[in-house]
Structure formats: C-alpha cells, structure tokens
Symmetry: C2
Amino acid sequence: MTMKPIQVGLLGIGTVGSGVFNVLQRNQEEIRRRAGRGIEVAMVADLDVERARSVVGSQARVVADAREVIANPDIDIVIELIGGYGVAKALVLEAIAAGKHVVTANKALLAVHGTEIFAAAAAKGVMVAFEAAVAGGIPIIKALREGLTANRIQWIAGIINGTTNFILSEMRSKGLDFDIVLKEAQRLGYAEADPTFDIEGVDAAHKATIMSAIAFGIPVQFDKAHVEGITKLSAADIRYAEQLGYRIKLLGITKRTDKGVELRVHPSLVPSKRLIANVEGAMNAVVVQADAVGTTLYYGKGAGSEPTASAVIADLVDITRLNTADPEHRVPYLAFQSHTLSEAKDQLPVLPMSEVVTSYYLRLRVADEAGVLAKVTGILAGAGISIDAVLQREADEVGGAATGADGAPAIAQTDLIILTHDTREGTMDAAMAEMQALPTVLAPITRIRKEELA
Amino acid sequence: MTMKPIQVGLLGIGTVGSGVFNVLQRNQEEIRRRAGRGIEVAMVADLDVERARSVVGSQARVVADAREVIANPDIDIVIELIGGYGVAKALVLEAIAAGKHVVTANKALLAVHGTEIFAAAAAKGVMVAFEAAVAGGIPIIKALREGLTANRIQWIAGIINGTTNFILSEMRSKGLDFDIVLKEAQRLGYAEADPTFDIEGVDAAHKATIMSAIAFGIPVQFDKAHVEGITKLSAADIRYAEQLGYRIKLLGITKRTDKGVELRVHPSLVPSKRLIANVEGAMNAVVVQADAVGTTLYYGKGAGSEPTASAVIADLVDITRLNTADPEHRVPYLAFQSHTLSEAKDQLPVLPMSEVVTSYYLRLRVADEAGVLAKVTGILAGAGISIDAVLQREADEVGGAATGADGAPAIAQTDLIILTHDTREGTMDAAMAEMQALPTVLAPITRIRKEELA
C-alpha cells in the first residue's frame, strides 16, 4: 500500500531551507522507508523568487507570497524558516488557523511567544515541532520530551551557541582577546556581521528558555531569564581558570530548586576534566542531570545548513507518523500535557538572579601590600561565603592608571583570584560591593560563575 | 478527561525490574503529565515471589507464573526483564500472540531472534520497544530511529559495555594488567562473577548488531558480527598507545561501505583528543556519523537499576502515546518499515572481517639488531600497506624465554610499534603472517585496530 506523499510548504529558502530541500531530495528513499510515506516539498515561498527557483528547479512551485502556501488545501505541513518575531509569528499563527502542522527552527519566536502559539495549535489539534530551535542537529528536544520521560529532571547545562564557543575556544588556544577573535570569527563566517544576539547571550537564552519549559513543565518565560554574554571576558581570566583546572564556557543553565527554577545564561568555569569542557569550536553540547538516568550528554553541530535541516526533517517524519494518532496522545508541545502547565500543583516560579545559588571565580586587581588578602577574605567570611581556593600572582608593575600623575613610581599590583563554594547571588553581590569599596582594590572586580556540573 | 491508567505486567523483578517499579512510583505524577495517562504496574511475575512482594508491597499482584500475566486481559503492556534466549523468547512471543505490547531490555534476544520477534509483532499489530537494550539510559535507539531520520548514516562507534570500559580506564590510569583489574572490578560489582559476555565482547556485539540494523535498514545479524574482547590487552599496549596520542577503547562499530556493512567489536585505538576517548569508568557513549547532521555523540550510564529503568519507562510512555496511532504509522521496530527490510534495492550484506578496511597498531617484539626494521617495513611495503608512524623503544634485556638454555647472555630485545594507514584486513592478515615468520620476530605480533573517528 502506498500513500500519497505528505505535502510540505516551505516559508523561506535561505541556508537552512536549501538544506531541507536538498537533504529531502538526496535521502528521499531512506526517509520514505523510515516514515512509511514520502515527504515532498510541494511549494516554496520566498521574497527572492529567483533564488528560490535556483534551489528547487522544477521540483516545487515557487511563490513570493507565503500566504499562498498557507491557503493551499493540499499542503499538510508548513515549515517556517523566516526567523524573528514579526512576519514569522503572523504566518505561524495563520498556518495553525488553516489547520496546518507547523515545523519551525525559530527559537526567538517560541521563547517569547510560545505560550500563545502552542495554545492556538492545541485548539486546532495540530502539531508544532521545533527540534531545530535548540542545538541544531542534536536531537535534544526529542531526548528531553521523549527519551527522559521517566525522570524528574534536575538541571540542564548546555553549550548552545556555536559562535561564542568558537570564540572562547580560539581565545583559550591562542591566548587572544575577545575583540581580535570576534573579527576572525566574522571573517570565517562563524559570527554574523551584527553578532549581538550571539555574543550577548540572547540566542542561548532563547534556547535555554525552551529547554527550561520542557524540562520542568512550566510555560516559556524568556523575560525572566538572566542573560549575560562573553564580551567582557579577558584572556587573563581564561588563563587563570586553566591554571585552576577549569575552562570557561558560555552555558545556558536551567535548574530546579526547592524555591523555583533557575534560568540563566552567562560565562561559567567548568572543570577541565568534564566532557563538556572539551567541546571545542562551533560545536554544541547539552548535559542533562535527571533523577533516574543520572547524567547524560548530547553533542553535535548546533547550526549550519544540513545539521539544522536534519532536525527539521526529523520533525517532518514525526508529524507524518503521528498524523494518524489522536491529538491527546501525541507528544505534548512542551513535553507535559498543555492543560497541566497551569494546573500543576508544583509549578515553580522562575527565580530572580539574586536567588540563584552557585559558586564563583573572583579576580581582584589589588595593591601588592600586606593585609589585602586578610581584608578581602574577612569580608567574605563576614558574609558567610566559604572559600574553595586562592591564587595570588606575583606582583607586577603596571603603568597606565596606576602610575601617579606626578610620574611617581607605579604601584606594585597583583591579581588575586578566589574560588568560592556555593553562595546565594544576592549575598555575593553585597560582598562584592564591600570589597570593591576597599582602597586597595584598584579595578572593577571580575566575577565569573562556576559550575561543577556533577 | 481522565483515562484509566495503562496496565503493565512486569516479568522479572531483579535489579532493573525494581528500578522500573520504584521510578514509576516516585515520578508517577510527572510521568502522567507527560504521557497524558497514568502508567501502573498491575502485576509482577517472579519465581522469587517473596522478593517480588518485598519490592511492590500491596501495589501490584505478585505471581510466580509469567503466563498468568500474559493471560490477563487487563494487561496492556508486558515488560520482559528475564534475560537470555530461552524462557524470555517464549514469553515474549506468547505476549505478542496475546496482543500485548512488549518492552524488553534483552539485547541478546533481539540481536539473535529479533527478526522472528518483530515479524510476529508486526503480524499482531503490537509494538516491541527496546530502548534499554542498547547503552542503558542513553536514548540512543530513539536518536537513531527518530532523531536522525533525515540522514544516511555512515557509521556508528560506541563504548557500549560499561564493564570493559571500567577495566580499560583502570588499566590505563593505574598501569595495571587485565587480570588484576578484572578482580578489582568484580569486587566492586562492575563485573559479574562470570564476566565472559562482557570481557569477550559478546554483550557489545549484541548491541552493535541492533544498532547496525537500525542504522542501515538491514535485519539483525549477530552471527555475522566479528567479536573480540579485551582479555589479551596488555598494560604495555595501553602505554604505547598513549605515547602515540591514542587511548584504547572497546568499540562496537558498524559502518556502511560500498561493498556492504561492517559489524565488529574489538579494542580500538582512538585519538586521545576525541570526546569518546575521554569517556571513563563504567560510562557509555555512542558516536554517530551521518551525512546531513555530521557527528553527534550520546553519553550516559549504560547499565544499573534506575538508568535502565529510565529507558524502559520511556518505552512505556511512547507506547502509551502511540497506542492510538494506526500501526502503519508507528515508529518501525528497526527504524525502517518492516516490509522494506527485504525488498530494499540497496540492502547490503554484512562483510566478513577480511573485507573490513581500517588502520592498525602493530607491536612486534624483535631482536635488537641491524636490518630488522628494514625487513618488517619491506614486508608492509610489499603488501601495499602504508606506514603512518613508527615507535622503536630502546633495547632492553629480557630474561625468561629469551635466555639461552645454556645460560648464555639474554638476547637484546626491543618493542617495535607501527601505526599504519587504512588497509584491508585480509591484506594485513597476510602481511602479519609473513612478519611473524621472520626469525628476528620473537613473539606473537600484537595487532590492535585504530579508528580515527573523524
């Protein structure tokens, strides 16, 4: 028995869209054998009609207006690859209203408007699939939603932005500063001309927000995420971290605590011996800690044409298979049945950053004189912050701001590095303000969070 | 709307069975929110009725006869956790015949009798799920069957036996020989009293066989697997490998080539910088290379009560969800629709080991005299085998067999280590026989395959 191939409409045929089209063509026989039914891109909408035609040839109808695709009753699934919140949101909602299943790689859209979109889809009984929205080709959404259903998930920590991981890898291996490596990354195509969303942590926060909802059965709440990028990291901190047995990674973290859910993106020290600390270049990896299975890790390419297409097509196959299942028994959008997102007795709030508990790396630029260490550690002790390790560098002579205006000899300075045990962030904020006020602390204190991930 | 919980019958409540029961109890609320329906172990069969009662209390009916569970019309899903080919096979087939869905962790059963079992299940329209059969709690079956459906899979290489990885990790970190570490592993519970299936590679070969079928759309063919364990590995080889930038891991490998499918388990040198080379202790990891997504890696616990239970319960949730899908559109047992396993035009044979192409580490114990290296490399050159690296140790004096019976001075001996480029195994076999026949080669040549995994 051969069923008619499922008909797909593609909105936007840039890098990822071309990948989806090409992989579906190249592997159509294997995909049909797996899905039990052919999957065909029947229509493509792109403002650049010529570019679209050059990709699909005569294999699919090309139109400029995405609404023509949505209005076509033969189209079963719409793939949204436009990106952003504007047009993309309107089109996704229109496709749902038209009774189409939707596949999207748009993490920004889901992290911000996911609740509205999933509610609309539930009302229409259609699926919205988004494996490609988090960690590209790594099937992490599937692992979280289906592979780990037995578990109470405790935390997730992921390298979920390839651009920043490439930059951090280069900074470490070559000892270079951020600005120089960013330019190199832009030249190589690992960073965009406007890299803000990547380097400021926004992209990673979109992805962490989606994983947070799936892991803990809460609505997507991007507005409550703490978002911090890598632009202020110095080569010196990467070097000191390495001397202490750590690497610095930009992690997207979400964690369940008794008080609520932590949701945060920031640079983190990670023990060098952890597998995730050894994920280099533009690769992604996600560590999941869960009560039954323990630690699992998922690694692969987080971006690029065909890796992302791999995730989009996996969604197409899932939808093709689940098309005949009654909607109540499909995999829930956010892992938990929608109606339990609000009713759940144990629904937890997303915590403000001041309530987050983690450990810290602090670097203080201090005058090299007696009593400084005692003052600093005294403040920490007074705040109840326990110290794990101290690294004091030999004094060096620094010019610039430290040189007296009258040409007097430079002040002997040194870097004082402190690793702490777990502390509430609000407590650390107060202690840092106190240390910063010491006259012997000569520059703004650098604070990087530290995750043992064990 | 609340549906009646799905009713599960558990056959065998040892380590894994207890884990399944306990995790289902502990996380029942979250699992219900994910599955859309409660999942209850209603009946347990175990020959040791007392032990079973001590685990389940009054929560489930306990019987000694598994057939009572299968005969119960209220039971929707039967979990087989008995193990082995005998009783387990009969019970699985009887459960299928009775129209029950089956979940099993039994890799031996599926690797050897999978074809028969899946055919019976297809005829009855029931599901047979086996996430726990490969790599314990890691959702690797799901990743291969569903997460990577877009891809033409090229190869899979996995650390899929925790016992042997624990032993190899200990041998390397402590410089100890196999026998000593095996005893330690047995004392710590990482190796069984009769460790044959683990240390001889049989368990890994069962798992590799299942992954091979899923990856390439071929039937399970355990009888064609090349199976080689770790019992002959010496601490010296682990040390030499490390000096050359490699670690030795027991890998289960399956690879698609133009001629057919490679299916093999043996110790392998892996570059130390690869993530999988850094998987230590009893942990498992699987690397998958596929055409669209590139390299992905999946890491976690490969055994143990709750990690295995995590996989079993994920299968229960999947079945609960897919119960209402028409059987044609469920996920196929072996990733590809059953009827295409035999009809596929491109179905590939499993290749004999002599047709496998890989690179090699060779260690030759040779007399430390002029011309030995020339003779050995001459034989390799004659066979068309290209050399990647040579490591010649300083000569050492060895007593024992090398000492003349007349008490003459010992012969100066040395280890000659050669890394080759890719070669057909049959070619290497012939060259090794020729080298072995040299009078200056003083002991059996050690040959370990080498996989770059890139």
